[in-house]
Point group: C2
Chain length 327, copies 2
């Protein structure tokens, strides 16, 4: 795209009303100018979604826009930060009006839902990819981190696991006897709900969390490694949706265990907290409408074990899912 096209394109599709008082100068100059809050820290995350890698090529522009923001919101949630400012670097093969209009409308809606303002960006010509950087605010010392798990702490997850991975598999299956299965799982794949409100309050009871974007075992593995401890999770306690259960009845060609343990793209949170705070955490989950499940404990070992349905502890490789075999 030439400077011309880019300039008018930004004006047409990505100049939204200014709503935040801390944005002194938004889209349209060499830089945005921002007034950071006094006495708070900034939490910053950046994520790129590449067409054909992070979403199927036929994903709708509205879903792509939603997800490109949701994955970064989930990172802010994992630190318990309050979302504030976004930038959008959009690379696309051509400037298709309908595509841009749908993308822009959905992106704007999501920004509004979370009180986030688009402060800047870049539009370039090339294979479709979307990079969103989000900045949030958090009180000093209050962020949930990966390196604060302690032996004896309990491990929790929000929501259900495996639905997004199942949704990806179901995209190409068109003869399911129960259409609600595909609908629910594809929705989880395309429209994951970041746990933003729950997480900000959860930080009162929990100092350790991560978002499950690479799969439970890999992401919990990051916590164990950063905190220098081990852990065990109970396979039978992993939270499973109705759609996931129904799919197991109809379709036996999938590795459901792997989806639960290692399926990426769920964007739920894995939290580690002292048992003393369990009651408060569950009360908060209920009041914010979030399913929270106790799935295991941190222990003094040096690895992660999955306690299978037969009660046996199986050590798993937390560095990735390639090494899993089906149960």
């Amino acid at each position: 795209m030439t400077g011309v096209t880019e300039f008018s394109l930004i004006k047409q599709y990505f100049t939204f009303d200014s709503e935040r008082e801390d944005v002194i100068l938004g889209v349209g100059d060499d830089c945005a100018l921002l007034a950071p809050p006094a006495n708070k820290q900034l939490a910053v995350t950046v994520d790129t979604l590449v067409a054909g890698v992070h979403f199927p090529l036929n994903t709708s522009p509205a879903d792509i826009a939603y997800k490109s923001l949701a994955v970064s919101l989930s990172d802010l949630a994992a630190m318990a930060a309050e979302p504030a400012w976004a930038t959008l670097a959009l690379t696309m093969p051509d400037s298709d009006h309908d595509w841009l209009q749908e993308f822009s409308t959905s992106f704007k809606e999501s920004l509004k839902d979370y009180g986030v303002q688009l402060i800047g960006g870049d539009t370039t010509q090339g294979p479709l990819s979307i990079t969103v950087q989000l900045t949030g605010f958090i009180e000093a010392g209050k962020a949930m981190r990966r390196d604060t798990a302690r032996v004896g702490d309990r491990i929790y997850v929000t929501g259900h696991l495996g639905d997004a991975a199942l949704g990806l598999k179901l995209l190409n299956i068109h003869d399911l006897p129960d259409s609600t299965i595909k609908g629910a799982c594809v929705k989880k794949l395309n429209r994951p709900v970041p746990r933003v409100v729950f997480a900000q309050q959860a930080a009162d009871y929990c100092g350790c969390a991560i978002d499950i974007s690479d799969g439970l075992v890999a992401d919990l593995g990051h916590i164990l490694k950063a905190s220098g401890c081990g852990g065990r999770i109970y396979f039978s306690q992993l939270p499973v949706s109705k759609a996931f259960r129904k799919s197991q009845v109809y379709l036996n060609q999938f590795n459901y265990s792997q989806m639960l343990l290692a399926g990426g793209d769920d964007y739920e949170l894995c939290l580690v907290a002292s048992a003393h705070n369990e009651e408060a955490l569950f009360a908060l989950a209920e009041s914010t409408g979030v399913l929270l499940t106790h799935i295991g404990e941190i222990d003094a070992s040096t690895s992660l074990s999955v306690i299978n349905t037969a009660g046996e502890a199986i050590a798993v490789n937390t560095s990735g899912y390639e090494h899993f075999s089906d149960e």
Copy 2:
């Protein structure tokens, strides 16, 4: 890339020593945690470079790394901000060790040169593109903006114009009688020097600036539009390098006027300031080793005119260079 590859890749190539005290938590958690300075505003810019669009496919990893940071540093310079934090979203077809090592070494070196810390990023698999977001600090009210040019102000540029555009043309010419021409122009293309130090001090004398990334006429046009005024520039006063002059002697196939007026990628600054401050600005330019040239004036018209070598005023379309014809 799987989470595995990505995690070890970030650790191996993009975990640099922490140097800034305002970085509470750098690369390696869901978000970076930053302590913004009290009583300053943040200036934020993001730029994407796409292989084959923003740089030729055979550009060296070291040059790509340098430029991906330089273009954003130039945006900070245009606002007079002090560079502080960077994120890097790197999309690449595969994780080639040699490529990554060279890219990482060069990126690290540039960060160090400007006192910037890499605080986070994302590595993904896909066609090569690099998105860098930079955050800098600036005192409230001190930023140089696009919308503050006033009738009677003078227009200045730093450095030489057109060298980067000429460099791009010369890449495929191998039989130049004077090799210093190509060397100088390709260096300007691949290693533009952002005017970071000069700009921070220039803000004492100048409230209006833009970086010339899309070409002088288009970028000065942004200033005129944002400020609601017109302007004129004197073609004969446009600063031209020795290499550019020599090239005009040897190679007559290029549109040199267009390169000067509309060649992108120079990453010099165009500044607009009151004539009262000219002496101070020139003294600053000299003390910081930056060439500064007075090239025109802001006037009460509604367009930009180029006064050609015959002394005639030619109104030019500031929305893009497609409309220029050679003189």
